[in-house]
Symmetry: C2
Subunit: 390 residues, 2 copies
């Protein structure tokens, strides 16, 4: 998701102050066996919950975050936090994912850098960060870890699972891995597997990171960070999250004064800042590199590229055969990263199995990031679908 989404909600309408919690498991010798056979442990999972779990434990909704997201989906981690969690417009009292009614859970994925075990975590065997000795993880592993968390919370069946983008992949994988454990599923702006073009964009981002001299084979913790590599990766991602229309509306060909004052660039000074969109991309990437770990970017994009919901099955419909959830698949007209055809593959695979599935291709100018935008139609879809799950 991009910082383009700057919708802020006020404290009063939010879930208020929330504390990120940690679930610890997979201590030696009970490490988690990953889908590629490697063993990973111990594992910490950073997660947040909003609302109260009912006595019957039947009102839980699990939210999966996107590539650059984290467990902090709603409310404020402290009284002086300026922006609420990344989906605060959607999660809270009387909001579409209504915390007066539902118990909402969001966990940081493994491989991430926001509290869950990832390449920047300390490898207990060496006392140093894993770096690239961290095993390759898959979307399947991400949801396996979240299933452990759900088990730990004593929840047998979720009211709904919801995710957009990489979160949608996790929702889809959850349906494949644990088809009988969710009553509802919202699969948003995503794909059952990446196309060559989607892989290509991530490839450039990864290449840019690993060729940054500061990357240093992943051993940069406590040293100079591979900032420019990660910046470039983020810029590329960012372009793919926005539609041409949204960019044209927001920036067009507007230019700004060159504020860099970088006289050493001579005639070239305006190579770095001239069009507003140039300045914007630079600003966004500078903000991103402060909050994200380059190795996590490598591991997570690789998991996304490797993801194929039908892995181990003859096809997607066979993979989804056992699903008991009522499903909603959602795409956006201007999302050129995950165009509607990719959502329709999911819809067809679900329908072939007779699964109760709704689909919408929502008219939107905001591109891939549309699911993060404050949009009344979107809110109605969410509230309506969650109510319809019996």
């Amino acid at each position: 998701m991009s910082e383009y989404i700057s919708e802020s909600t006020d404290f009063k309408n939010s879930v208020g102050i929330v504390k990120t919690e940690f679930f610890h498991f997979a201590d030696s010798p009970d490490e988690l066996v990953l889908s590629n056979g490697f063993r990973l442990g111990p594992i910490d999972v950073a997660y947040e919950t909003y609302g109260n779990l009912s006595e019957k434990k039947d009102n839980a909704i699990l939210i999966f975050h996107a590539l650059s997201g984290d467990a902090h989906a709603a409310g404020f981690n402290s009284a002086d936090e300026k922006k609420p969690g990344w989906w605060d417009i959607m999660i809270g009292p009387s909001k579409p994912i209504d915390t007066d009614r539902y118990f909402v859970i969001c966990a940081n994925v493994i491989g991430g850098c926001k509290g869950s075990t990832g390449p920047s975590s300390i490898n207990p065997q060496t006392g140093a960060p894993y770096g690239i000795s961290f095993p390759i993880i898959s979307v399947k592993d991400m949801v396996a870890v979240q299933k452990k968390l759900i088990d730990y919370l004593g929840i047998e069946k979720l009211h709904c699972i919801i995710g957009g983008s990489m979160g949608g992949m996790q929702a889809l994988q959850w349906l494949v891995s644990y088809p009988k454990t969710a009553k509802g599923a919202m699969i948003i702006a995503t794909s059952p597997k990446h196309t060559a073009q989607e892989i290509a964009f991530n490839t450039v981002g990864r290449y840019s990171i690993i060729t940054d001299p500061n990357w240093n084979n992943g051993n940069y913790y406590g040293k100079s960070l591979p900032k420019t590599g990660l910046s470039v990766a983020r810029m590329i991602g960012h372009i793919t999250y926005l539609s041409e229309e949204a960019m044209t509306r927001k920036f067009g060909r507007k230019t700004i004064e060159n504020k860099t004052g970088r006289e050493e660039f001579g005639q070239l000074a305006d190579f770095t800042k001239e069009f507003e969109v140039e300045s914007y991309l630079q600003y966004q990437s500078e903000s991103f590199i402060k909050r994200f770990d380059a190795n996590s970017y490598l591991y997570i994009t690789k998991a996304i590229d490797n993801f194929d919901a039908s892995d181990g099955y003859t096809g997607l419909s066979e993979a989804l055969k056992e699903v008991e959830a009522k499903c909603f698949v959602l795409s956006f007209t201007s999302d050129w990263l995950y165009p509607k055809e990719q959502s329709l593959k999911i819809v067809r695979a679900l329908k072939i199995n007779g699964i109760d599935t709704s689909y919408a291709n929502l008219e939107s100018a905001f591109g891939h990031d549309a699911f993060l935008i404050d949009d009344e139609r979107l809110k109605k879809i969410f509230a309506g679908f969650l109510c319809s799950i019996k």
Copy 2:
């Protein structure tokens, strides 16, 4: 253009061995005054010609190359050159741009690195390469230099001007700058001005170059080159030149054995090579950095981003008011970098002025690079249009 275009034609059917020639002008104190007021001189222009200029000098066709192109559009520069010029499929005896009939000229743009004066050229005042002391150049300056060449060759009126992508911008700018000097114009897969998204892609490429430590404020000649920065820029460009469909057909999700043998990457080894498309992008960019100068990439992409054919006019139709050429505008269905709407803006502006204009949106799976593909329909369009010019 991309190396994806590997169509080779045999020697017999080509214009044979051609020598790149050089036109020298703008010696002190008669430097060329650029559109931004800076003076540049002396200027060398590398160009090639194919076929013979008629006595009346009325059979000349000027070809404009794209971002990464050069003057070598057809034939072979030596008997052992493996691949012919970049548009050999189109230019030659009995080919659509028929050298038995037409005198074809192609010149490397200024700012380039293939023989024409650019940032890698020696600044006679310092005896060292210009680097970033080279003045910012515009598409208008590129065609102004080519007009000098045409004057030097004694040609008053061109039979046709032809260009795709950045070449199309030059063709359009030629019509604005010298509206009475071409009888025909083919404007292919281009735009009258870049959108924010098109600027954004170039921005990332430039950012990637200038943040490469080897870029060294443009002073890298004779030292380590900013290879990784230029590689990343090329990879991004490359993705935008291909359609999703072309990439899917060519690569899909095919994987290859990791041939890097880079064991130091540990688990990460397959971050660099795994999917075929990853390996392909790396291979292509490695080939590109051997033949292209990073500073030229900066200057030329900036010229493209700054280009606005209506600059100095109330609009595009006013800019094209004086055009006397018969025009053909061509776009491709799968070109998502320059979608048909951008070509249609050109068509409308020409038609408003009552200019004889044809337009086609050719069904093609090859994306932006479609004009470089060996395609019978394309060849017929070219041959037919060139014949129709009276």
